[in-house]
Every structure is written in structure tokens, then in C-alpha cells.
Amino acid sequence: MNDFPIDTIREDFPLLKAQVNKTRLVYFDNAATTQKPVQVIDTIDNLYRNQNSSIHRSVNYLSGKMTEAYEGARETVRRFVHANNSREIIFTAGATASINLVATSFGEAFIEEGDEVLVSAMEHHSNIVPWQLLCDRKKARLKVLPVNDIGELQMDQLPILLTERTRLIAVTQVSNAMGVINPVNEIIRQAHEKNIPVLIDGAQSIQHGQINVQEMDCDFYVFSGHKVYGPTGIGVLYGKEKWLEAMPPYQGGGDMIDRVSFSGTSFNVLPFKFEAGTTNYVGAIALGAALEYIEHIGLDHIDAYEIALNDYAGNALRSIPGIRIFGDSKMKHPIFSFLLENIHPYDAGMVLDKLGIAIRTGTHCAMPLMEHFGIDGTIRASMCFYNTKEEVDRFVEGINTVQEMFG
């Protein structure tokens, strides 16, 4: 934790200097969205000032430059997630859009009445509702892999839940509500034994270390740019070429076609087949800059630092009287969900906010998980590599204040 150049890194993130209620902000809402380094902000600024032009179809110089940068960003994403080729990298509007794309398009091609889709009980709504909508449309069944008392998947249930009607598993790599890391490799292994493809929701894993979709051998992997230090409005769908080839187009429009006529339309090759209309090319290039930024810091360094931060914060929180931590697993990232005895999370959140500490309260878009624990919501503090022990200390002090006020 000590050789990590945390001071220099924090200098890269202008928002970390913000003042809230006359104190320096402690930003612990990273699972909701992350802050952006100047490298990303300046990329956007520069693109709009000096290079903006629509991609792919123009003959002009700027357009050519922009196309190169956009396709370069695709290559950066490919390298970052270790995909086999860049045709497997689709730019979307975000993780939610990516999952909806697969639910609709894969669903259209491969899900029939009576088939089953398996999700887990800890999924984010974005990895539940698209499957519910699909199952409604197709009269298919949504099945649920339950979690145990400390918020881990009940892996012993997996073999029972995988039937010959299971057509897809959609599971998150890291729980956004608790930080728990799921054994996705093992899930994928068991699924593939039965020829069942697996979609990994990487919205909370992409920002915390190495991702290798080929080693993991997942069939789909999705994430959002804004959660990995990139801009809003951009996300990624990785899909194995064999699936993407077999799937019908999702949205229709410019760029995703080969030829259009009223007597029949043919579609463009991958990845363009799934990128209808003018894409968020500025967003994609800025996402590329974000990934390059964290590659530059070093994913292993980030991982090591975050593990130390997780240990530190975990110990500090566990020593608070009357605290109940959800998902206190050994395998986790520094995301902490908890309740304080006799204090409503919302009251705590309001006071912490006044103390300059940005956390989140509520269900974290994971109502079924809350239902599992029999609660309405939690206080969630989610950290990443630009957070510090000192910030954890201020947070713990803040909790003390909360407890005094409502005690």
C-alpha cells in the first residue's frame, strides 16, 4: 500500500478536490459511478475542439482521423479484456444496454417456450429485468441461484439448477451491493460441461483488476464506461464471435447495414452489425483513454492497493459497535454494505453527506438481495484505488457521529 503513488494519482482526479459543506469530499460512491482522470476529461475536450467529425462514412480528413481513433479504442478494449479479436467488441450505451442487447437478440435466436434462464439472487436489476421481460415474451422461466447468509452464491445448488432446458446463465462477477466476488470460472466450467453459455456482468469487476475473457471463457462480458473512470453513455459488449454471428441484429439504422432496399436489407459484418446509428464515438475514445490510464498505473498495483484498502476498511468497520455487515465474505472488493443498529440508513446517509462523505443508501438496485436478507436497504460505501486510509478513518468518525446523533 505504501509504494502506490496515491498522491500523484489523486492529482489526476479533479473532483477529489471538491468541497462539500465546507469540507473536503470523501467520495465513497464508486460502485455507482467513478470519477474521471484529467486524461479522460482532456481527451473529450480535445476531440470536440480539434477533431470532431462523424466516423466511418465520410471522405474527409477529420472523419478519417476520428474513425482511426474510434477503431483504436475498440482495439484498446479488446486488449484490456483480452478478447481474441476486435470484431467481438461492440460499443453500446452501457452495461444495461449490453445486457438488453443479448437478452433480445440471443433470446430471439435461442430461447423458446419452456426454456430456462438462470440468474443469481444478488444480481443488479439491470441483470434481472431484461431476462424477466424476455421470459415473459417467450414464456420461458427465470430461475434463481440463491445466496447464503454472508452473501455468497450457494454453489452447491448450481448443478441442481442447470437442467437440459437451461439456455443461458447471466451472473455478475462482483456484487454491486456487497462487493462479493463470485466464482465465475467454476460457474462457466460447469455450464460449459452442459453446453450452456454464460454472460458475465462485469459492471463491478472491470475496474478492479485483470480481466481475461478468453481465460475465463465466458460467452458474453458486459460493462459500463462510467464505472471504469470513463464517460457516461458508453459501454461494451464482448461476445464470442460464434454467438454474435448467430444472433440477429438488435437495433436497425445507419452503419449496421450492408445494403438497404425496400425489397430486402442485408446487414453489415461484426462488430458493426450491432452498432446502429451514429455511435458515441467520443465516449468510446474517452473510454479507451480511461483503460489506458489504468493500464498505465498497473492493474496489479491497483488490485494490491485495493486489497489492502479492503482489509483496512473491513477491520475498521467490523470494530464499530452495533454494525451489521452484509456480504462479509473473504472474496470481495472494497464495497461495504451495512446497517447500524436502530438507525435508518437514510438518516445515516443524510448526516454523512453533511460531513462531506458521499455514500449511498437504499437497495442499490438489488431488491431481491435485500429481500433475501429481509431488509429494506443498507448503507453502502464503495471504494477504489484513489481512496485512502485517511478517508476510511474520516468515514468511521462520521459513523461515530451518526451513532451519537441517533443513539
Binding site: N21, H344, Y346, D347, M350, D353, K354, T361, M405, F406
Partner: protein, 141 residues
């Protein structure tokens, strides 16, 4: 006392509270002071939409005047409800509908409850006015 006089009273009390901490503590006390709703009243019928914590609001109409009672699982929210009730209770529907409730801005309640949260405040007020309107229509029939 009229609604306006009670508003002035609240403004007066708040003027002594410089720090947000004091204001919050004041709200917490207000929240503790009003009686909890009977659990049988904490039903969906009385639940207010648009708050981040659950708020139940009830109203009774007697001798031409409305009396609200409220509860919330969050104590600050309950304090806000208590404050509104204190100002509006024992008033006629017309008085409630005509009140401009400037005290909310004056004491900085909205500002201290950042936008997403003041939605709760707004929803509570809206519901209180609905009740007033309903009773007004009822009594003029």
C-alpha cells in the same frame, strides 16, 4: 394561532440554529416528539410515494379543521413531517390550501435536504394539500 404565526414561530426557533448539526438535531427531536402511528395505520394506503424513506400520512377532519398525523422509518424525515404538521394542524382546508409556507425556504429546509431528498418534502406537502382539497370538496357538498 394562524398558520402564518406558527410559521414565524418556527423561523424564530430556527434562527438560533447556525450549524446544520443543530438543525438536524432539532428535526430529530421534533421527530421523536410526535406520537408514532399505530402499526395498523402504516399501510400502503397512507404511504407517500417519492420519498427515499417510507412516510405514512393520515388526516382527520373534525369541526371544520384538519389534523394530520405522520410517521416514518427515518427519524429526520419524521422530523420534517412533524414540522409540517405543527404548522398546518388545526387549520381549515382553505387555510391550508392558501398557505404559502415561506418558512420552508426561510429556514433553509430545502437547501439542507439536497434535491433528491427534498422530493420527499415536496411529496409530503402535496399529499397534505390533497387531503385539504378532498375535505374541502366533501364539506362543501
Amino acid at each position: 394561532m394562524t398558520i402564518h404565526e406558527r410559521e414565524l414561530e418556527v423561523i424564530e426557533e430556527f434562527s438560533d440554529l447556525d450549524e446544520w448539526m443543530d438543525k438536524y438535531n432539532y428535526l430529530i427531536e421534533m421527530g421523536r416528539d410526535i406520537p408514532a402511528l399505530d402499526t395498523t395505520c402504516k399501510t400502503d394506503q397512507y404511504l407517500i410515494q417519492g420519498c427515499q424513506s417510507r412516510v405514512w400520512l393520515q388526516a382527520e377532519f373534525q369541526s371544520g379543521k384538519i389534523n394530520y398525523s405522520a410517521d416514518s422509518d427515518a427519524i429526520i424525515t419524521k422530523g420534517i413531517a412533524a414540522l409540517l404538521i405543527r404548522v398546518l394542524n388545526e387549520s381549515t382546508p382553505d387555510e391550508i390550501l392558501n398557505a404559502d409556507l415561506e418558512f420552508i425556504d426561510t429556514i433553509g429546509l430545502k437547501e439542507h435536504l439536497s434535491p433528491t431528498r427534498s422530493n420527499g418534502l415536496v411529496s409530503m406537502l402535496k399529499q397534505m394539500r390533497y387531503y385539504a382539497l378532498a375535505y374541502k370538496t366533501k364539506s362543501s357538498n
